[in-house]
Amino acid sequence: MSEELLKVSNISISFIQYGSGLKQNILDVISDLTLDISQGEIVAVLGSSGSGKSLLAHGILGILPSNANLSGTMHYRGEPLNQNLKEKLRGDEIALIPQSVKFLDPLMKISEQAIGDCTEEEKEEKKAIQREVFEKYGLSKEVDDMYPFQLSGGMARRVLVSTALLSNPKLVIADEPTPGLDERSIKETLNHLRQMANDNVGVLLITHDINAALEVADKIAIFYAGYVIEIANSSDFTGDGEKLIHPYTKALYHALPQNDFKLTEGHQPLHDELLKYCPYFERCEHPTDICHETIPKLIDIGDKKIRCNRANEFKTGEF
């Protein structure tokens, strides 16, 4: 059995914003999120852009802005993951593959910024490791002395991936690694993630691209209005979607152009609409009274997790 790396339990992230005048608004971006990642496993967090899923990455790394409020608990290999531990682990055992090439320093040579700050003695050894990892990702020696503007999009992507791997991390967080790339580069990026998982690294893939998630992830956590409403296995997204449980997950599966392109009416609640009941209530075809009274908890069903009062009925296909 592979070791559990990260365990996130009931995390909520909210922001305090100033409205008109001195009125403060609280914005719940992530609510009651529970998730775990083991070694060699790829877990995708799937949500529409702007849904705040990147903040999960920032929460794990301890780089949330000061007006953000984080509650709930996180454990890393059994140890409570507090701010001190986060600062110790980030860039070392936990690495981030950032969203875009804009995260590179335009004025530093590639190899210098990949190695980062170190003493003269360490430099040679680090340089050798950097060269080795870069080689593995098809980056030739010339790249070391280049500046970011000299890289093509695909090369830059490989630089970000291999830089994240320099510290030999156990957990990699990939924040939207695919948008703006063509099919070939997407495939390449996803292959890199697979390669990491095969080397026993745990990968948290944050994405809005369901095709990318389905192709590479083992588990997919589906975000809806700040709530994870289902954590399903990628292999459940098959056939007529009969293995999927939550009605939104089913709608999502059937809406794919390669499936039925089926229309589902309605929209997600806005971030600042404080919900007192099931976030999917207004769109659900089978709501009950209880669905309008409380927010359902994320419960375990078999090897999956579902946030639905009627999960068991949905599961047995009663509807």
Binding site: G47, S48, S49, G50, S51, G153, P179, G180, L181, D182, E183, R184, S185, H208, I210, Y248, A251, L252, A255, L256, P257, Q258, F261, K262, L263, T264, E265, G266, H267, Q268, L270, H271, D272
Partner: protein, 204 residues
């Protein structure tokens, strides 16, 4: 009506190579045509040329007439991938929506735009909600052609279906010609009558 791009060529001033060379493309009223290409292949550049936002060699002709007049409503409207970048952050959504035409009430409802969203600022709505506004804003009765440049790429699959149902329905009702630009071949196959590949019509 027919929108034609004839012998379109484009290169960046800093480059020696043409991004687009001697390209010909046409779009008829009520036709839904897909355009597929890799990123960086010049899809968005071509969109901007056809909509008259970018100068190029060659000619863009609408119904046999070369577009020359400025400051009149452009019958070729362009919708972008990122709606949030096309909206004034200091305008409320109701002002954003009515920027180009006096949108009627029924249509707002049909688009699933909630009354309460109209008093919101752009940064308070998600990409899917903003894109509904962007599409509706572009659908003035004077719009004859609509160029959709990856308009649902950043959206979830459910919202993607909603947006395309609306766009194709209205395009059919009003005989609007639609150019659907996307890298998603399944999507293009799903909604278009005809698909063209940029690399096949580009002679660079």
């Amino acid at each position: 009506m027919i929108l034609k791009g004839e012998n379109i060529s484009f290169k960046y001033p800093s480059s020696d190579n043409y991004l687009i060379k001697d390209l010909n493309i046409s779009l008829k009223s009520s036709e839904i045509k897909g355009l597929v290409g890799d990123s960086g292949s010049g899809k968005s550049t071509l969109c901007k040329i056809l909509a008259g936002f970018k100068k190029s060699e060659g000619e863009v002709i609408i119904d046999g007439v070369k577009k020359t007049k400025k400051n009149i409503f452009n019958p070729v409207q362009l919708i972008f991938q990122h709606p949030e970048l096309t909206m004034n952050p200091k305008w409320k959504m109701k002002d954003v929506l009515k920027e180009s035409w006096d949108v009627d009430h029924d249509l707002i409802k049909e688009f699933g735009i909630q009354e309460s969203w109209l008093n919101r600022w752009p940064n308070e709505l998600s990409g899917g909600e903003l894109q509904r506004f962007a599409v509706l804003r572009a659908l003035s009765p004077k719009t004859k052609f609509l160029i959709c440049d990856e308009i649902t790429t950043m959206l979830d699959a459910v919202t993607q279906v909603q947006i395309w149902e609306l766009v194709t329905k209205i395009a059919k009702e009003r005989n609007i010609g639609l150019l659907v630009v996307s890298h998603d071949k399944d999507l293009v196959k799903r909604i278009c009558d005809d698909v063209i590949y940029l690399e096949e019509i580009n002679n660079n």
